[in-house]
């Protein structure tokens, strides 16, 4: 199950231009992946999240040139992410490429919940997604920790400080007001290492990209 949330108090990019830039990179990478994997259509895992909407918008604005099919969660009911994954994989079949629009915050801290071959938004932190799409999402059971850590703003600030600016974990954790929540984030980061090494293809948007610079 996934949950969505509105935008945090995070710096906004100049939305239109940022989406145009992100869309171009994502579209180019996804198109090359489809070509290299010899797939003729794209299947988006769409749990009704802001990320899914942003991904489809990026592919459309980027002029992907391939059919894009959205496999959606049941309208009005709780999204069972496992059921959705099974349907999406079945829909992808042998000629479709399955895209999971997970954000970087989730891919770093909850990588065991991510399993698809292409993760087009996984180099955008949740707060960056929110700046482009007015919301973000995470696995439902992640929300309690994010809330205790002060919200998605401090969580992403901690990750950026550690991953992108290479500040040691303990120093970066000073951005998390609650020490217990900080300790849990530190443990999640450590526990996710093995899973992060096995993530799918991530288009490079930032300085340290999962699977490329950050394993």
């Amino acid at each position: 199950m996934t949950r969505t949330a509105g935008p945090p108090a995070a710096p906004r990019a100049d939305g239109r231009d940022a989406i145009r830039r992100v869309a171009r990179v994502i579209t180019d990478v996804v198109a090359a992946a489809a070509r290299d994997a010899r797939r003729e259509r794209l299947v988006v895992l769409d749990a009704g999240t802001p990320e899914a909407g942003l991904l489809v918008r990026c592919l459309t604005e980027g002029g992907i040139g391939l059919p894009v099919e959205r496999i959606r969660s049941a309208v009005g009911g709780p999204a069972s992410i496992d059921g959705l994954r099974a349907r999406a994989r079945a829909a992808a079949g042998v000629d479709g490429l399955l895209l999971d629009p997970v954000n970087k915050t989730v891919a770093v801290l909850w990588p065991e919940t991510v399993a698809e071959p292409v993760l087009p938004l996984a180099d955008l932190y949740a707060s960056q997604v929110a700046a482009l799409a007015d919301g973000w999402s995470a696995p439902a059971d992640a929300f309690d920790l994010i809330a205790r850590a002060g919200g998605i703003g401090p969580v992403d600030a901690f990750l950026m400080e550690h991953l992108d600016r290479r500040r040691p974990v303990e120093e970066a954790l000073r951005l998390i007001p609650d020490p217990d929540a900080g300790a849990e984030l530190r443990d999640r980061l450590a526990a996710g290492w093995w899973w992060r090494r096995r993530l799918g293809l991530v288009p490079k948007l930032g300085g340290r990209t999962l699977g490329l610079d950050l394993r």
């Binding site: 940022a18 992100v22 990179v25 180019d28 990478v29 293809l201 948007l205 490329l212």
Partner: protein, 281 residues
């Protein structure tokens, strides 16, 4: 010998391990200018693509093989995986002209940080030299070499007028980029080229590749900087493109005004200090 030299930067998007196709793309992009003093520059590993890993020995070329493949293109500078006589493979840039090898530089600094693992694939070059072509004094660099100012200094101490750098620099900072830029990271290259050109009083031609390999989008943004630090040609970021301009040696003195720091430089002072730093008196 000509006081004018037309330089075209071929911002290609090589396909990985497709040497024949990439050579064809270079030749297709080569402008037919009908001028004798024209030089086309294709990016780092333009013949092979970047992330070769253990395919590097399979697609590597000797420099005469490079010259043969690019012979119809006239004078071309292009990055290629170079197979040396002893079997080692270098990340090299070759200047070839009508089937003849003019000069080859082997990348000295192989990056191994972040996403890069070039030292696993390539042997490192061990020299930096200038050469003469068509009356111009030139020097070649490959990508990471450009981040080591000592190499540019060494070329300028050999009185080069034009440094040609070929690159396969990824685009980063997509979210943070501003204005018309697509990648915040390319601004650093642009500034370096401008500062190097101004400080050394030379032209800098920087050919970066476009296209995608796996998750990496290459930044493009190829450019030429003049000895006064101004950018006199620039390609769009991230797209296949060809840009060019004519360099006029007659303009060199004016562009170096009011001060040509290179004229007053004293390489031996630096050389002595470097020997001391290395413990060699």
């Amino acid at each position: 010998m000509s006081d004018q030299l037309h330089v075209s930067l071929l911002q290609t998007a090589p396909r990985l391990a497709d040497v024949e196709g990439n050579a064809a793309r270079i030749l297709e992009a080569t402008p037919r200018l009908g001028r004798q003093a024209a030089l086309c520059v294709a990016p780092e590993l333009a013949l092979s693509g970047y992330d070769l890993r253990d395919a590097a020995p399979d697609v590597a070329l000797t420099s005469p093989q490079l010259a043969a493949r690019l012979a119809p293109g006239g004078a071309v500078v292009a990055g290629f995986p170079e197979r040396a006589a002893d079997g080692a493979v270098y990340n090299s840039v070759g200047h070839v002209e009508s089937g003849r090898v003019v000069f080859v530089h082997r990348k000295v600094h192989l990056p191994t940080y972040g996403m890069f693992d070039e030292a696993r694939v390539f042997a490192a070059g061990a020299d930096i030299g200038a050469y003469e072509w068509n009356g111009w004094r030139l020097g070649l660099l490959v990508c990471e070499d450009f981040w080591h100012p000592g190499l540019l200094y060494a070329l300028c101490a050999q009185r080069v007028e034009l440094i040609i750098a070929v690159a396969a620099a990824p685009g980063r900072g997509v979210f943070e980029a501003e204005g018309a830029a697509r990648f915040a990271s390319w601004e650093t290259w642009r500034r370096m080229a401008s500062v190097y050109a101004r400080v050394f009083g030379i032209w800098i031609a920087l050919a970066n590749r476009a296209g995608v390999e796996e998750g990496v989008t290459f930044a493009g943004g190829s450019l030429i900087a003049a000895p006064d630090g101004s950018l006199i040609a620039s390609a769009p970021e991230g797209e296949v493109a060809v840009v060019g301009t004519t360099l006029d040696r007659g303009e060199l003195a004016r562009l170096r005004t009011p001060a040509w720091h290179g004229r007053d430089d004293r390489p031996l002072v630096v050389a002595r200090a470097l020997l001391r730093a290395e413990g060699i008196e």
